[in-house]
Assembly symmetry: C2
Homo-oligomer: 147 residues x 2
């Protein structure tokens, strides 16, 4: 069971999207301001969403401008062991971002929540590259009682 | 393979969300302005997105304020035969909406697109009930080259 998304970012090369996905500063500008750790392959990124916790992700694969894979090594039980896969491609004036959060073990309500929440963060990534401003936590879009 | 989402709408009862899902006028205010047909159980709803086409949905089940199921009877090949299931429940001041677009046959790129697009339409539904104004097509949020 996978969460799937696709956005297109209006930009002339995948470089800006790639930088937003593979640098601590870039990640902090669209996902959560409280991002630390190492974004290099083999490193571990620590994403925190005070006060509720967060995720530790190992950077498993990084093919510049094309593909990035993280594995969740710590966080909510439902997330640990899942994989987050990013594929980029350039189509004329668009960087197409294919996002897949793979291998959920159970189709729990939290998975529904995370799917919608990922969509809002992908739109935050799009805004960051297109307009210079994302909406990372704690200023992220609230979608429900679960934030 | 299913598309899953969850939103919470700040409202004191599921009634407004239910009306937005089960009347032609309500659907036209958050999904597509070009909505026609019958929203009654056994009826068929016609959702159109000029100029690209649309979907015909049979209303399979409707338990007021709790559950609604549509089956796609015409539209893009990937959609025909899939099921769209809505479950509502009231948690204090929130109507929780669990959305599932079920039984996709293949994990195609179009499924990624539809997943992200559904998220934006669910947020449009939330805005309609909370603020009185949704963002139905043709004024919907553009997420990519595929609109």
């Amino acid at each position: 069971m996978d969460i799937l998304h696709r956005i297109g970012v209006r930009t002339s090369s995948p470089e800006q999207v790639w930088n937003a996905l593979t640098t601590v500063d870039g990640l902090a500008r669209w996902w959560t301001e409280d991002t630390t750790g190492s974004a290099e392959p083999g490193g571990t990124l620590l994403f925190r969403f005070p006060p509720v916790g967060g995720f530790d992700m190992e950077v498993v694969e990084a093919q510049p401008g094309e593909r990035l894979t993280w594995r969740v090594v710590d966080g909510p039980a439902e997330w640990v062991g899942t994989t987050i896969d990013w594929r980029l491609r350039q189509d004329d004036g668009w960087t197409i971002v294919l996002f897949e959060h793979r291998d959920w073990r159970e189709q729990v309500e939290f998975m529904n929540h995370c799917s919608t929440k990922w969509a809002t963060f992908l739109l935050s990534l799009k805004s960051l590259v297109e307009d210079g401003k994302g909406a990372p936590a704690p200023g992220d879009v609230q979608i429900s009682d679960w934030h």
